[in-house]
Structures are given as C-alpha cells and as structure tokens.
Symmetry: C2
Subunit: 370 residues, 2 copies
C-alpha cells in the first residue's frame, strides 16, 4: 500500500482486508445483506456490553448526522439540554440544538479543563427543567478525555437523560452499559473500529427510543422510524451504504480477532506514547497535560519560530508519507496528530522522524512553546 | 466476480474498476481529496449541461437525505409545495414535507398515469400561494417516466420554484439545465452513474441556494451551509464518505469514456428491451404501457397462478445469480426488475432465462395477468 498514512481523527488508514470487503456489491433488500446489518448491530451493542435493554440503530451519513439524529429523536421538542462545553464538538452539539429548536444550556469550560461532574451536578440541581445532558466523551477538538462514568452517575442520580457523543472513544476507551446509564451513545464506522466513513450508529436505551415517536422534525434522521422499520423488515428505510457496512463487518471481525476493546486501547496507548515521547524528544510540546490526554488524537503547540508555517509543514510531512491534521483551537496555534487507525507504534515513530526532517528542512529551530 | 447481479434500482452491480477505487484511504482535509470533490462536483453539473448559474452540493447519506435537504433548505418555512403524486417516491416527498412542517398540496394521479402538466398548470393558477413544485422524474415505485420538460415550462411560466427528484433518471435520461429551469435537481451516487451508494447530491441554482440561508431546521442537511463551507474551504463540513466519492470519481470516468449520457441511455434502453421482450415471450405482463416506461426499472404483474410466491421466486432466481426487487404497489401484486448498473443486454437475457427456469421449477403455469 502506497497511500499516505492518515494521522487524523478519521477517515483513518484502514487495513487491506477492510478495504477488500468493498469489492462486492450487495442488494439492500437481500437476506444476506439484512444478516450483515443485524450482525454488525448486534456486535456494536456487545462492544459496550449493552444487553437486551439496548438497541443499535445505524444511520447513513457521517457521525454528526447520527449525533443530530439522536438529539432530534430523543430530546422532545420541549426538552432542555445541558452541554458541558470544552471543545469544538461540544459547540457543534449546541449548534445542532439551535437548528433543532431545542433549548441548550451551555456549561463553559476551558479547553484544557475536563468536564466537571460537580459543576454538572450543580447545574442540574439548580435547573430542574433541564431534561438531558449531552456529553462528548473524548473531545476530538483537543483530544481531552472527559470523566464519563462520573458524569453519567451524576446524571442518573438526577434522573435526567444522557446523550453521549462517543465518536472518537467508542471501541477503544472503556464504556460499560451495564454500569453506565445513558439514553444514547453515538459513534461512527470510520473511527476506533477502523472501518471506512459513511455511516454512524446510535446505541440507544430501548424504552427511551420506543417512546420517542413524533419528536424528530426530519424523516431521514428519525431514529425511531429507522428502528421501527428495521425491526419490522430487517432493512434500512433508505438505501444503505452497502460497501461501507461490508467494510465495517470486516473491521469488526478484525477488532474481535485482535482482542477487542482492551487490545485496541493498548495499541492506541502505545501509539500515543511513541508519538508523544518522540515529539517531546524533538522539543515539541503537547497542549494537554498527560493526565487529561486520551490516546486518540494529540494536540501539539505549533513551534513558536517565524520559519514555521502549517501549510508548508503539512506538505513536507505529506511528501514523506504522513497526513497530519490542523489544529481546531482559536486562541492557540496548534496542530494535531491522530494515534488511531490500522497502524502501530512503529508508524508513529516513523511519523516523528518525518516531522523532525520536515522542521529541519524548513529551518525551524525553536520548537517548544514560549 | 461471483456476486449475484443486482437487478434493482440501486445499489447496483458496479464495475470492478469502480469498486477497486475504494482500495485507497483518503484524508478528508487533504488537497488531493479536495480536488477529487471539486472534480466530481464539476462533472455532475456538466452532465446536465449546467453552467455558472448552477452548483453541485454533495451530501453524505442516501438519496432521500439529499431530497430532504433540498426541500428543507430551498423551501422557506412559509412555503407551500405542489406534489404531483403518481407513486411511492412522490408520497415520500409528501411525508418529508410533513416532517419539515412545510405545506404540501398533493395532486393525486393514478400509478399508471404520468404527471399531467395541464393539471399542474391549473393547480398553480388556482392557488397562487403555492411556491414550489416537487416533481419526481422517473418514479422508481413503478418505473413510470413523467414529462419533466413540459412540467418545468409550466412551473417556469407560473414563476414558481421547481425541485426535481431525478434519483433514477439523472445521468441516463436527458435533462438540459440550459432549457429546463429548476431550483434543484437531486440524484445520488449509486444510481445511473453506477457508483456505490453513500452520498447524494443536489444541482442547485446558485442564486436560489445563495438566498436559502436560515431555512433549514437541520444542521446536517443544511445545503446552504454545506455549500458555503465548501466554497470557503474546498472541504465537506462533516466527515465525507471518502471511499464512496473515490468510487464515484472512477464511475464518472468510465461514464465519460463510454460515451456519456447518450451511451448510458442507449445501453439501458437495450437492457430494457431485452428484458421486456424476453419476459413477454414467457407470457409475463408489464404494469405500464411501453410509451410510459422509463428504461430504468420495469414493474411486472405477478403471475396469477396459485403456485406463485414472491419469496420462493426471489430465492430461486437468486440461486441462479440474479437479485430481483419486490413490487411497491399496494393494489396490484407485482415485482420489479432493474435495467441499470454495469450490465448489458446479455445479462438481462440471462436473467430472463433464470426467471423462466425458476417459474418452471415452481410449477407456475399461468403467467399473464388476468
């Protein structure tokens, strides 16, 4: 494979087997495809130890489509959603709620500050009209890990609904539906499961979803309708991304064969350690302290050197076979490097070498932040 | 290739080259991928002879997502949409409008009756509060072809907006944006372009789309926002289905190399003739008269024989390598056979042979409708 390695939060570098699974065409009405859908959905519930009280509803489109679908279907029109905000994907949830006409209460945090369960608790106690909390697990904007289990117990204690954007954590970081109560947990094909992009999915509490008829102001994103139809027919309501689903089936097979979630986390943790260790040796600085860093995507301060320019840096690193990701912070100049995909620590070490060479070529001398 | 041939309205049987284009991973932020998006969008506008006054906005998800996005973005909240209804995809538009809270006026037609420009004209003259007409070009529910050019001139004469669901006609049947005025024309990757499913697209009038800010009650399906962001960055707002787009690029390359729209229509016309001719030789009857039949998908009456059962028939034909499609009519028992995909008339003839053998095995003797 001669493709550049994607060091991004998705699309990722996927395995040759996963891509090869797209070399067949599937009929969307055919029993073989229905079985494919059912088997993937069943495995997706298992990955978070969901049981009979959870269902998986797949949805065409990107992960954001599934986030919007979960919010629009599960939050009633009169609902009010608390959004602990420490990054761009939290802000995107607030933007979605604005579109959907659902009230949002933003609980602002710094971008280096994990969502605070005590502040969430206080906010819920102070405003009993808040019906839901929408919590990003790993905020891809910075790479920060939020304390999901603690937040979930606060939300459960206050008997509100919890909607989790687990886009870049699902499949790698521990989430146990037996002990962590949520209404919906959202992720997508092209993240830690290492499938290709093109579909999202929502692991929903069966009773909550069952009562969510009539909430959605969109047919395409009505998860209740999608679920009801699937239960009745085994089929997706509208043309499914057949090849994307076949690739996800192959990716999940590899995931299981490789040891499932613990093995995935171990590999990403090793990737992240190789990356961060190597970059620090060069003198580059991470935006987050290690204790808050999820091993998914790492934000680095841009070198404070006048010779540094992200576009030039990106191009040089790309020529050496690695695709980086821009920063998503407004106040601080940063870039991001992903640790996920069908890659190992050797790849990350090679990426650090390419980064070092690129900075050297550019004449960037000052690497650490001031 | 040993996959069963898909004789369905999509997903289709795609070429080996189209599927092989999915064997690379693409970075969604990378210039190479932006160029891929731009080149596909430019070609999609060209296919309907759109010019500077038209833009192509791609959207993640199935074709229905793009239909909903076009309606939700281009019809203002106070809009009122006339829907000439002669089939299930017309009814789906009405259902979408209900979700979106846009007024719909249904102009009911029989399922064997093409949408009537005179009745549309009368409806527009009678109700000046109708702002748009939503017209399905080829109604996949039956396979009927609606007289799009005549309808478009009626709508233009009355100065209303026209939104065309060209899902199963775009790329095969003639649509000339230089003479046929529309606000939006919607299709998808996995139809007559013979890509894989996973994205839709809207060819929109630039000025209309430019004025459509603030209409959409969905972030994910806000075409105006998607377009603005793409113009600014060259990127999709949310993770694009990278492999699906790469496959579409390959499919459009083949489309052009094979002679473009006229060649595609000629192949499908030959496919349809081989299918219908063969089936009639067996004694099977088409639901539509030939004059109304688009060469995309053909509805056949189920054999009026007690030994006939669709599930059994489907299974037997599938064992012989062909996947059929169920009927979508409530009043009449039918099944459908698609003519589109990377297949030629020989394939359709082989399918007829498989159908004949299957009916024989089942002991189905009476084949024509009563």
């Amino acid at each position: 494979m001669t493709d550049a390695i994607l060091l991004t939060p998705g699309p990722l570098t996927t395995s040759a087997e996963t891509k090869a699974a797209m070399l067949s065409d599937w009929g969307s009405w055919d029993a073989a495809f229905n079985a494919l859908t059912a088997s993937v959905c069943s495995d997706l519930v298992d990955i978070v130890d969901g049981r009979d009280e959870h269902v998986c509803v797949p949805l065409q489109g990107s992960g954001t489509f599934a986030v919007e679908a979960a919010l629009g279907t599960l939050v009633p029109k009169t609902g009010k959603v608390l959004v602990p905000d420490n990054g761009s994907y939290c802000k995107r949830i607030v933007r979605i709620l604005g579109y959907l006409g659902r009230q949002a209460v933003v609980l602002a945090h710094g971008e280096q500050e994990p969502a605070d369960p005590q502040r969430i608790e206080a906010a819920l106690a102070a405003d009993r009209s808040i019906t839901h909390v929408a919590q990003v697990h790993c905020e891809t904007g910075t790479g920060i890990l939020n304390p999901l289990a603690e937040i979930a117990s606060v939300v459960a204690r206050h008997d509100r609904g919890l909607i989790i954007d687990a886009m870049s954590s699902y499949g790698a970081l521990p989430i146990d539906a037996r002990t962590l109560r949520f209404d919906a947990l959202i992720a997508a094909s092209g993240k830690c499961l290492e499938g290709v992009p093109g579909m999202g999915f929502v692991i929903a509490r069966r009773t909550t979803l069952g009562g969510a008829s009539g909430n959605s102001a969109s047919l395409a994103m009505d998860l209740h309708d999608q679920w009801q139809y699937m239960q009745k027919t085994g089929q997706w309501r509208f043309t499914p991304p057949t090849h994307v689903l076949a690739a996800l089936r192959a990716a999940v097979d590899q995931y299981r064969a490789q040891g499932g979630r613990p093995a995935r986390l171990a590999r990403y943790t090793a990737n992240c350690a190789a990356l961060v260790g190597g970059m620090r040796t060069l003198g580059l600085k991470t935006f987050l302290p290690d204790a808050l860093q999820a091993p998914i995507i790492v934000t680095f301060h841009s070198p404070p050197d006048p010779a540094y320019d992200f576009a030039d840096f990106y191009r040089r690193v790309r020529e050496k076979g690695f695709i980086l990701y821009p920063g998503k912070l407004t106040a601080v100049d940063t870039f991001r490097v992903g640790c996920i995909g069908a890659i190992g620590a050797d790849t990350l070490r090679a990426a650090v070498t390419a980064i070092a060479a690129s900075l050297r070529e550019m004449g960037v001398v000052r690497l650490g932040s001031t």
